[in-house]
């Protein structure tokens, strides 16, 4: 669906190719509907945000007050930077008009007349491709004043970030777009849909989410909701990296495959002679899953009753609710697979270095904690660790989560909490390796 044109033979990024394939038909259809009807279709579709949090898109749009008098803005979050995630890259570089069409429809639905695509600074080609696509769409009347004679005006501009992960956080992104440091805003009480860009109502949606809107308009919300599972509808772009023979990006029905099927059937399995050790299921912020763990899932029976059953990692379906039940999250769809050759302290240290570098520094627990977690895993690996390190490490993480303005606090604490808890033996061994024999208590 969303990846239909990705790596498609003969497919080009220009508007003629897109139009020949039925492009902008959904925009025409949408302009014949009322904005409220589109919002309703999106609500019916059950579409959940694809950026990481999985928040229902229709509900987010519904936060815009009816009869709003301030200007409303829409921002496409194309700041793809969650480690393990590489899906938006292909939409932007290979199918820019799909993203534009989804964005224009969404702007019409929420009554936004000005929209920005906030693209990460490291996609210079992507920014140029989108700018060209915008110019093409404008020349054909799909953008600008009085779009296709509907009376609806819209301008879209591409805005480049400059290498800061925190700009993916929607209020950090808004601050950045206002020309400031991207320090996330405190919320509640004011979510961007109430007070966002320039103190006006603002909708921030991920690239994949906006593309899904186009397909919801095409097939109708009810039909879209039949793909996937209840509360986990539609398709998901999964990105697989790490120790599999055929890593890559795949569009799959939400919950349509298990981790075992993804790793073994779709990605060609592990390297010969190796066994599965761990999977990070939804970008590096998601809690790690250990091979051999058992998870309790609830499923609704045809008669409406709920039945609990237990599954292992390889039987775990990849959807929002199953991963939440397994104590992790579907997040951004970035799956990192690790086999038994991997050192978990080394892996966590790499992740910790990322978060230590990317913390914006606004909240003390995160600014100091992320750095300390990195210092501790580093000394465990390269000398200077003490036996108390695993416990102190966990305690630092426990004191960050829930104590920061934005979800970065959780994002940097969850890897440490889960790695130390689930691979404790490896952390204890490192703590003792250079340890001075003190218990630290």
């Amino acid at each position: 669906m969303i990846f239909k044109n990705i790596d498609r033979p003969g497919w080009t990024i220009d508007i003629d190719c897109y139009l020949k394939d039925g492009g902008y038909e959904e925009l025409k259809k949408a302009l014949g509907m009322t904005p409220a009807a589109i919002v309703n279709e999106v609500k019916v579709s059950g579409l959940r945000g694809r950026g990481g949090a999985g928040f229902p898109c229709g509900a987010k749009w519904g936060f815009i007050r009816p009869g709003e008098t301030k200007p409303i803005y829409l921002i496409c979050n194309a700041d793809e930077s969650e480690p393990g995630t590489f899906k938006d890259r292909y939409i932007i570089h290979q199918d820019p008009h799909q993203l534009l069409e989804g964005t224009i429809i969404s702007c019409y639905a929420v009554n936004a007349r000005l929209a920005y695509i906030y693209i990460r600074g490291e996609f210079p080609d992507g920014a140029r491709i989108l700018e060209r696509a915008i110019a093409e769409a404008k020349a054909k009347g799909y953008l600008g004043k009085n779009i296709l004679g509907s009376g609806f005006d819209l301008e879209i501009y591409v805005h480049r970030g400059a290498g800061a992960y925190i700009c993916g956080e929607e209020t950090g992104l808004i601050e950045s777009l206002e020309g400031k440091r991207p320090y996330p805003r405190i919320k509640p009480p004011y979510f961007p849909a109430a007070i966002g860009l320039y103190m006006s109502p603002t909708i921030v949606n991920n690239v994949e989410t906006l593309c899904a809107v186009k397909h919801i308009v095409r097939m109708g919300g009810g039909e879209f909701a039949r793909i996937g599972k209840p509360n986990n509808t539609g398709t998901r772009l999964l990105c697989v990296s790490g120790d599999v023979l055929k890593p890559g990006y795949f569009e799959l029905e939400v919950g349509g495959v298990t981790f075992g099927e993804l790793i073994n059937d779709i990605c060609g399995g592990l390297r010969p002679g190796h066994e599965l050790k761990a999977v990070i299921p939804g970008g590096s912020s998601a809690k790690v899953l250990r091979a051999g763990e058992r998870y309790k899932l609830k499923s609704r029976q045809p008669d409406g009753s709920m039945v609990e059953h237990e599954v292992g990692l390889e039987e775990l379906p990849i959807d929002f609710d199953s991963l939440a039940a397994a104590g992790s999250m579907a997040g951004s769809g970035g799956v990192i697979v690790m086999d038994d050759s991997r050192d978990m302290v080394w892996a966590l240290n790499n992740i910790n270095e990322f978060y230590a570098h990317e913390s914006c520094g606004q909240c003390t627990p995160c600014r100091e904690g992320s750095l300390w977690m990195k210092k501790m895993t580093e000394r465990m690996l390269y000398g200077g660790g003490v036996p108390a390190d695993p416990d102190v490490l966990k305690s630092v993480a426990d004191h960050i989560a829930g104590r920061t303005i934005c979800a970065f606090g959780e994002a940097c604490a969850w890897p440490t909490q889960s790695f130390v808890e689930k691979f404790r033996d490896e952390f204890v061994a490192y703590g003792a390796k250079y340890g001075n024999g003190e218990t630290g208590s």
């Binding site: 480690p83 320039y198 697989v240 990006y249 790499n350 990322f354």
Partner: protein, 164 residues
């Protein structure tokens, strides 16, 4: 510091993208300045601030926060190697070292926060960056604006030759 007419025209055009607040044009202006001059000098910070009717600190705090902006010149060709997990598992640390070896860069001071690593002839500079969003095909790197996937150590000399 001289801003050529062509660059100034681009800058004026970009400012029109932000009808509500000129301040929003800060990042785009800094990108344009850095693309033209190779880095962002104190003088440039003052120029951008004046252009957008801001104080220099409003611009300086951006230059020091956003990792892509630099206050010193990079090499003629700037190499960014992804450091994050999937690429590290695929050998990005080895890749950085290989680049350094073939580009005559002393890599002993690599890491975040340190000055850019440069070859003595000024031809190349290199830095580790965080996730470049192509995790399935690591290790990945960028040379200037060009993007490369699954870069093996053997390819490095050839790759450097393309950027002489």
């Amino acid at each position: 510091m001289e801003i050529p007419a062509e660059l100034e025209a681009k800058i004026e055009e970009v400012i029109t993208h932000y009808p509500i607040s000129k301040r929003s044009a800060s990042l785009p202006l800094l990108h344009l300045i850095q693309e033209h001059f190779g880095f962002i000098s104190d003088e440039a910070i003052g120029w951008v601030a004046k252009k957008l009717e801001l104080q220099p600190i409003n611009i300086l705090e951006l230059v020091t926060f956003y990792p892509m902006f630099r206050q010193e010149p990079a090499g003629k060709h700037h190499i960014r190697v992804c450091r994050t997990l999937s690429c590290a598992m695929a050998g990005s640390y080895e890749l950085l070292n290989t680049f350094c070896k073939h580009a005559n860069i002393n890599s002993s001071t690599s890491g975040h926060g340190s000055h850019l690593l440069k070859s003595s002839d000024g031809k190349y500079s290199i830095e580790f960056v965080e996730c470049l969003a192509s995790c399935g095909f690591g290790p990945v790197c960028m040379i200037n604006d060009d993007f490369y996937e699954a870069v093996s150590a053997e390819e490095v000399p050839q790759l450097l030759q393309k950027y002489s």
